[in-house]
């Protein structure tokens, strides 16, 4: 068990792993390099290159990023709150109640893992126009609120909770929603955390649907804002674009670096269930 003897095999593997890892991280390191140095050092890698925050300041002033951040924050919060509420209720129904149509409805839920709202952009846009919601933040959020993935994940967790616990709560006089609130939700906390992280990072990064359904500064999330900012062919310097790119990903990236273990475990938990 302790300290395997030196082996060529092991050394070569370690070497290869490190090479690949460095290659993998290179694009990001490079983006950081251009963002914190003046434009003249975009492709000149000298250790003595002067550091600067000008690129970030220029990017921040060139587009309404504060507003974009606010929009993304509102969007992600709205989606997460909606998902938690709807998926919890639905998962509880599937896990603990018997009723006609249960298996058909569950199949329909699972079907959403395949046919996602992401693909149905043409029809969903029509729906939003019908509801007069085009160019609003709820329009970006609504198609994702009933998440098949979320329902499935929570149902699997609820199924592992022993029935004796809710019998006990029932004897104490707890209502159905009371049991859900006092027994199921507290015991499923790790699943909520995992699902929350996956959902937030997914919707922070989402692009196509927000691009379609928004058309003003007041509703655009950062991803759409960033694409508009960098698509302007007015000769914005690379260093400024990279600064903007890092800026928009920073909250997620910092959160990830701080809570790396939780992130990885959450994605794992969300995947294997």
């Amino acid at each position: 068990m302790t300290g395997r003897p030196f082996s060529l095999d092991q050394t070569l593997n370690t070497l290869a792993a490190w090479l690949l890892a460095l290659l993998w991280i290179l694009p990001l390191v490079y983006a950081v390099w251009t963002a914190i140095h003046p434009g003249a050092y975009e492709a000149r890698f000298v250790l003595t290159a002067p550091l600067t925050a000008d690129n970030f300041i220029a990017a921040w002033n060139a587009a309404p990023f504060a507003r974009y951040f606010l929009n993304t924050f509102l969007l992600v919060t709205l989606i997460l709150a909606g998902q938690f509420l709807l998926c919890t209720l639905a998962a509880y129904a599937f896990a603990r109640f018997r009723f006609p149509g249960r298996s058909i409805l569950f199949t329909l839920v699972l079907l959403q893992l395949l046919v996602m709202p992401d693909i149905l952009i043409v029809e969903n846009y029509k729906t939003m126009r019908l509801l007069d919601l085009v160019d609003t933040i709820p329009a970006i959020a609504l198609p994702y609120i009933a998440s098949g993935f979320g329902i499935f994940l929570l149902r699997q967790t609820f199924l592992t909770i022993p029935r004796e616990l809710d019998e006990a709560a029932r004897i104490e006089g707890a209502s159905i929603l009371g049991i859900l609130w006092r027994v199921y939700i507290p015991l499923a906390k790790p699943t909520y955390l995992a699902y929350g992280l996956v959902s937030v990072s997914h919707h922070w990064n989402n692009f196509l649907w927000p691009l379609i359904v928004t058309n003003s500064e007041e509703t655009r999330p950062v991803t759409v804002g960033l694409s508009i900012f960098s698509a302007i062919d007015s000769g914005i310097e690379w260093s400024v674009i990279n600064a903007a790119t890092l800026m928009t990903t920073a909250p997620l990236l910092i959160a990830f670096l701080l809570f790396q273990r939780q992130f990885v475990q959450s994605f794992m938990r969300a995947g294997i269930k």
Binding site: P27, L28, F99, L108, V115, D118
Partner: protein, 298 residues
């Protein structure tokens, strides 16, 4: 006794339905009903101004068959799937094996592999766009310094544009799939591999005879995900190539976007979406049957 029971059952029904109601309303409104209206609208013309949509029968589908861009985009998507899925899955397995090993600096390794997963595809594309810039970009600088190649317009040349997009996608996805393999590896009992090692089996044999077969459910899960992603991920195309040059790097969903939201031909857009829906269902069914026999369940 029996009446008591049936009351309990009835109450269960009502509770179940009520709990499900909100989720089902949203699920139907934004997934199932649009999927069905997509199919219906694919037989209609695009409504314009005051002119309502007209029933066209199979006209949209005839147009589809004659549409050279559609076939090109379909071919691109196939090539995109073939180019991204096997490579990113293989890389994911290798990464997971490494990170699972007691290797020096595995915290850093895991971070390096996983970080692209957290970044928005749009941001990723911005970073890579600079790499690909002809003459000035990092890749050209490297190839000219190392091999003396002249500058290549990776994204502007129809021969390389799609492959350049594939590279970015693999970079983004491999670390994500790694996580699932990592979870699978940690679920394999150590005694199994230890026993094999004592018997004198090589790492290679252990991998192919024990580890890989036991990870089959994960491979099934990951490849279904990868197939769906290969039809769903088009964000980076907006930044990198905008589908060009001459649709060389356009994918099906991107073409749907162009048709419906740049040319505002929603009728034909619906027809294209039907193809996408069909492809996804076919592949899910096919993959399930193909893998089902070979998957080892514990």
């Amino acid at each position: 006794m029996t009446s008591h029971r049936s009351v309990r059952f009835r109450r269960d029904w009502i509770h179940g339905w009520l709990l499900l109601l909100p989720a089902m309303v949203f699920l139907f409104a934004f997934t199932h009903i649009p999927a069905i209206t997509t199919i219906i609208n694919s037989f209609y013309s695009t409504p314009r101004g005051r002119r309502e949509a007209k029933f066209l029968g199979l006209t949209n589908y005839e147009r589809l068959l004659d549409d050279a861009v559609f076939w090109k985009v379909l071919g691109n998507n196939l090539w995109f799937a073939l180019g991204t899925i096997p490579v990113s899955v293989a890389l994911a397995i290798v990464m997971a094996l490494w990170v699972n090993d007691k290797m020096a600096g595995r915290g850093f390794l895991r971070m390096a592999f996983f970080t692209p997963t957290v970044l928005p595809l749009i941001a990723v594309a911005n970073i890579w766009l600079f790499f690909y810039t002809p003459g000035f970009g990092l890749i050209d600088q490297l190839t000219s310094a190392l091999f003396g190649w002249s500058s290549v317009n990776w994204l502007g040349d129809p021969a390389t544009a799609l492959n350049a997009v594939i590279v970015v996608t693999v970079w983004k996805e491999a670390g994500f799939f790694m996580i699932f393999y990592l979870a699978a590896l940690q679920a394999i009992p150590v005694t199994l591999t230890e026993a094999a090692r004592i018997e004198g089996a090589s790492r290679w044999t252990i991998f192919w005879r024990i580890t890989f077969p036991l990870m089959m459910p994960t491979t099934l899960f990951v490849s279904i995900n990868a197939v769906i992603n290969s039809f769903r991920l088009v964000d980076h195309i907006f930044i990198l190539t905008d589908g060009g040059p001459d649709n060389a790097s356009s994918l099906l969903l991107f073409y749907i976007y162009e048709t419906a939201f740049r040319f505002w031909e929603t009728g034909y857009g619906a027809t294209l979406t039907v193809v996408l829906l069909l492809l996804l269902s076919l592949m899910a069914i096919g993959q399930f049957f193909l893998f089902d026999r070979r998957v080892h369940y514990k």
